[in-house]
């Protein structure tokens, strides 16, 4: 079995920042596993601006932000990037198994950094009653379809949840000519950044219903509409406030869950409520030599902070390995 000093799982902003920082701190041999055919992770589909104001002191789009790190990673001879490589197993003694086209590989790592990011919470997790027609998408999936594949998921959309992804997709769909009927948020305040409420909703005249919930999705084969109702402070429906919005598409933007199956396989302790690692501090896990950074560690609202904390994770791994800067 091949031995590697540091194996990083995930080539998004967290994995790339950790790899570069570990190299700067003296780690000589880094293997970076990325399941997609490009580095950058979810930034590749986040084509809107708003990235880099802290880290680069200028406003970049997601792909631009990713591109700057990817260029440095590619130039660094001490980082081997393995694309189309999907980590399937992690053991407590840090053996990492991964699939790449045509092979199942296993490496023994001195230290491991999990930079595996998040998954989206789905309709089933809120849950919304009603039928199960086509046309209901997690907002991040719709984002990938529109921005990377060029598919527009529908003609008239309602967005459930006012997280940043939902707000940004409201604008994106509106720009693509979709009639965005409303954003429905059960809480009294928007979950997303206030700048996104302004530039994504107000700019396009999209109504935001705070303190409302979708009580039902209707339609047989395809979504035909949603029923919306006001809720009180205990989230109970207020009688007589229901109304219907016809639409053919529902985007669900109701939060993210850290992806930590590998850590779980290695016996790491995981908070059942948040799915984040249970550990005494940021980037740590309960398994010695295994670190978690970026959205796998906790859900961040800014990529810049992912970069900052993941650089720290790279340095922590270097310290664990006893490396010192050359």
């Amino acid at each position: 079995m091949k031995e590697r000093q540091l194996v990083i799982v995930g080539g998004g902003p967290a994995g790339m920042a950790a790899a570069l920082a570990a190299r700067a701190a003296g780690v000589s041999d880094v293997l970076l596993l990325e399941r997609d055919q490009h580095l950058g992770g979810i930034l590749n589909q986040c084509i809107h601006p708003g990235f880099g104001l802290h880290h680069f002191k200028e406003e970049l789009t997601g792909p631009e932000y990713a591109d700057r790190f990817a260029a440095r990673v590619r130039e660094d001879a001490g980082i081997e990037v393995s694309l189309r490589s999907f980590a399937v197993r992690l053991t407590p003694d840090r053996r990492v198994s991964f699939l790449r086209p045509g092979a199942l590989e296993e490496v023994k790592a001195g230290a491991v950094i999990l930079a595996t990011g998040c998954r989206e919470r789905t309709r089933e997790m809120i849950p919304i009653p009603g039928s199960r027609p086509a046309g209901v998408y997690p907002a991040g999936l719709a984002q990938k379809m529109v921005n990377m594949e060029g598919w527009i998921p529908g003609k008239e959309a309602v967005i459930v949840g006012s997280g940043d992804i939902g707000l940004i997709m409201a604008r994106r769909m509106a720009l693509e000519g979709v009639k965005v009927k409303a954003v429905i948020e059960i809480q009294k305040v928007s979950r997303g950044l206030v700048r996104n409420v302004v530039q994504c909703l107000e700019d396009f005249g999209i109504p935001l219903y705070l303190g409302h919930k979708v009580s039902r999705i209707t339609g047989r084969d395809r979504v035909e509409g949603v029923d919306v109702v006001k809720v009180d402070d205990s989230f109970a429906e207020v009688p007589g406030t229901a109304f219907s919005l016809p639409c053919d598409t529902v985007l669900v933007s109701v939060g993210l869950i850290p992806e930590n199956e590998l850590l779980e396989m290695a016996g790491g302790e995981i908070d059942r409520r948040t799915n984040a690692p249970v550990a005494p501090g940021v980037n740590l896990t309960s398994v010695p030599g295994v670190f978690a950074c970026g959205n796998a560690c906790k859900v961040y609202d800014l990529a810049d902070w992912v970069t900052r904390d993941s650089e720290l994770a790279g340095r922590m791994a270097a310290e664990y390995l006893g490396a010192s800067p050359a």
Partner: protein, 120 residues
């Protein structure tokens, strides 16, 4: 006339109190940095936004290329710009910053690539 405005320059989202006479800015308070002051002036005189979208590619490693305007464009031009973007197909490899359409729609801004794309 006084109005409240939320600065969209950065995630802080400062609440600005803006006094203006039509498109003429008189005073602004509530900003935490000079970008907020400039935003209030711009937003009062002529609201502008950076357009980001994707354009189709042919023969490159991804189906779509993310693009942006090099500078903000008038907000009321966003939909005109989207129509023009739909007619563009990128067929040559690009780097982040490569100009896809110079002086886009005669607005004095370029449409530029946001990432590297090689041939498929």
């Amino acid at each position: 006339m006084k109005r409240l405005m939320t600065c969209i320059e950065c995630p802080q989202g400062c609440r600005l109190e803006v006094e203006a006479d039509g498109p003429r800015l008189i005073s602004v308070t509530g900003y935490k940095c000079k970008r907020g002051q400039a935003y209030a002036r711009q937003e009062t005189e002529a609201p502008s936004r950076t357009l980001t979208t994707s354009v189709l590619t042919r023969g490159l490693e991804l189906k779509m290329l993310p693009v942006r305007t090099s500078k903000p464009i008038p907000r009321e031009k966003l939909f005109t710009a989207m129509e023009a973007v739909k007619r563009i197909v990128v067929t040559s490899p690009v780097r982040a910053g490569s100009v896809i359409a110079p002086d886009f729609l005669g607005l004095g801004v370029d449409l530029v690539a946001c990432r590297r794309l090689e041939r498929a």
